[in-house]
């Protein structure tokens, strides 16, 4: 094994840090493109993480754990869909309720396993040839299989939204549900499907955290608020899946640089101020997008947050 430079190691770690964000934020993009904002993402990630932990340790299969985490996230998203779409509840409050419920439930379920470690996980998968490229290889191609899966998910989501008929319909549902309805699309069915798919991806994000980042359950620190960062990333990426990758890795680099600087005892900028950066950056980007007349509402689905009721337009 060759000795990698600190820079390469930091960047490789940043990819890992960004991966759960990619899963969750793509989930957010898909849900929001259908017109449903999901503030329950943090709760879904936590439930996904704790489920993954339990299933993985029970079955000894990280694959089963990963899938179970996604399913758990999807189930919670189904509650969100039922309340926000069928029962026309306020999406903001509903999502917040799910985060509170999910956080509580995850730490309740996780209490007996607090501090325990994960026994089995995914290892790194070195891609032949590509992984031996100096610099780029160790950063991008010596990752685990889920990192490659996250790229695949982002690519598929991008193609789906921009190049398929259903993707086009989805955008119609999020931009102008009344027109979509008049076109004969089922707004309710489309929204349900995409909110649940979004929850599945958020659950995967939580799974990744427990499988690859902190392989032990801790009720306070497992997702550490990254569900909220994922929500910000959706805006940061102006609702485009491929930009999510870029944004997620930027966040990853910021976080890892923070760790690396701290480890070296470099304290030019206090750690807390570095930690604020991603949040401030998101606000700046959102404000610039909305303040500029040309880009106002860039990418933001017009009907985001509004329930659709056919007979009461």
């Amino acid at each position: 094994m060759t000795q990698e430079s600190v820079l390469v190691l930091t960047l490789a770690a940043a990819i890992g840090t960004g991966t759960p964000l990619i899963f969750a934020a793509i989930g957010g993009v898909i849900s929001e493109r259908a017109g449903v904002i999901n503030l329950g993402m943090e709760g879904m990630m936590l439930i996904g993480a704790v489920t993954t932990f339990l299933v993985d340790n029970k079955t000894g299969s990280p694959v089963a754990g990963f899938i179970a985490g996604g399913v758990a996230g999807a189930l919670l998203a189904l509650i969100h869909a039922t309340l926000a779409i069928s029962l026309r509840a306020n999406q903001i409050v509903c999502g917040l309720a799910l985060t509170i419920f999910g956080t509580g439930l995850a730490s309740f379920i996780g209490k007996p396993i607090e501090g325990q470690g994960l026994t089995k996980s995914f290892g790194s998968l070195h891609i032949p040839a590509l992984s031996s490229i100096p610099g780029v290889g160790p950063i991008l191609f010596k990752q685990d299989v889920l990192v490659y899966l996250s790229w695949f998910v982002a690519l598929i989501a991008s193609l789906y939204l921009n190049r398929t008929r259903t993707g086009l319909s989805l955008r119609a549902v999020g931009e102008n549900p009344a027109t979509a309805d008049a076109m004969g699309l089922s707004v309710v069915r489309m929204r349900y499907a995409h909110v649940v798919a979004g929850g599945l991806l958020a659950g995967f994000g939580g799974s990744y955290v427990i499988l690859r980042i902190v392989p032990a359950w801790s009720q306070a620190g497992t997702t550490n608020g990254i569900g909220w960062i994922a929500l910000a990333l959706v805006v940061f990426a102006s609702w485009r899946p491929l930009r999510v990758i870029l944004g997620a890795y930027l966040f990853g680099v910021a976080l890892q640089a923070n760790f690396a600087l701290q480890a070296k005892g470099i304290t030019v900028i206090p750690a807390e101020f570095l930690a604020m950066l991603p949040y401030l950056l998101t606000v700046v980007i959102l404000v610039v997008l909305t303040a500029n007349r040309r880009t106002r509402g860039a990418g933001a689905p017009a009907a985001l947050g509004l329930p659709f009721v056919r007979d009461e337009r």
């Binding site: 039922t82 309720a97 509170i100 419920f101 909220w228 303040a291």
Partner: protein
Amino acid sequence: MKFSLERRREVKPWHLIGVPLLSVIFGTLVGGLFLEATGHNAILVFKTMSQTSYTTLYGIGDTLTAATPLIFTALAALVAFRVNLYSIGAEGQLFVGGIFASGVGIAVGTSSSALAIPAVLIAGVLGGIVWMTLPALFRAWFGTSEIITTLMFNFVALFLMRYLIYGASTYWRDPTSTNFPQGKKLDQNAWLPRFGTQSVHWGLVLALVTTVGIWFLLRKTRFGYQMKVLGDAPNAARYSGVPVKRMTFTVLIISGGLAGLAGASEVAGRAHALDPNGLAIGLGYAGIIVATLARLNPFGAVIIAIGFGGLQNSASALQSLGTDSVPSAIATTLQGLILLLALAGELFVRYRLKISKKVEVSA
């Protein structure tokens, strides 16, 4: 059979009270079943909860103390939500309110109480307002989503507060606490006096007075009337000359000030110092739940806040039940559960379920 929803022509008062009440009852039942299913003694849990929070004098005192910040943050949420501004920034505004209040408290604590207490409270309000100013400006003039900006600012405020205590030796940190950094204590003159069981402080009275004030603002003033028009029919408001931008900004600023007051009340009434752990327990987010359950009614918010305060307060007692110990997270789980049920029930306040026997002929 076919189910359809029909909008109610009028909402009867019992619908408004019945739905939250039923949500609490169902929430308790489902929570109880869940506890039994996970091998806990549900009866014992609920008995302990009522003893530690609702039926003993000390319990009620602790519950009221826990409810005090929730009343403020619920008011903060409800004024904004009434005009369809979904600020979730009370969390961060509470932190900054706490930072301002403790900063001023440390500085003026040695002067008389008559001077120090109002100064601390005003500082808290200012802190909340400062933290809301940018999101409010962006929302009113650019249309930037207040949901995202206020949420992001919560995290910035959280890190700022942590920095002031854990990050460096700042003005807010007790210089004698080197191993376990703590906030510098305010001088006694800046404390809100206590009464009753010695845990209830004047913040509660302030919260009740503020509640009446907000009710007055909403129901008895021209501003409140304009808010109602803006909330119920934004277009009508625009055409009838309601200054929408200015209203949006002002409402958000009021919301921020109320959340800041929550921080000041916690600092001056309970912790007597800037205590990052005591403030960062989701008081802002819980306020949104309280406001929603209260259907954005200020007096309803007080009642719900007391109920929720008790739930929060009983959590630690449950954890110390010995062999029957129940994770304290049960309190959060129950809160979330009750809110979800209330949201589902809300539909039946506004709509009637119509069941028609006729089978739809499928094409």
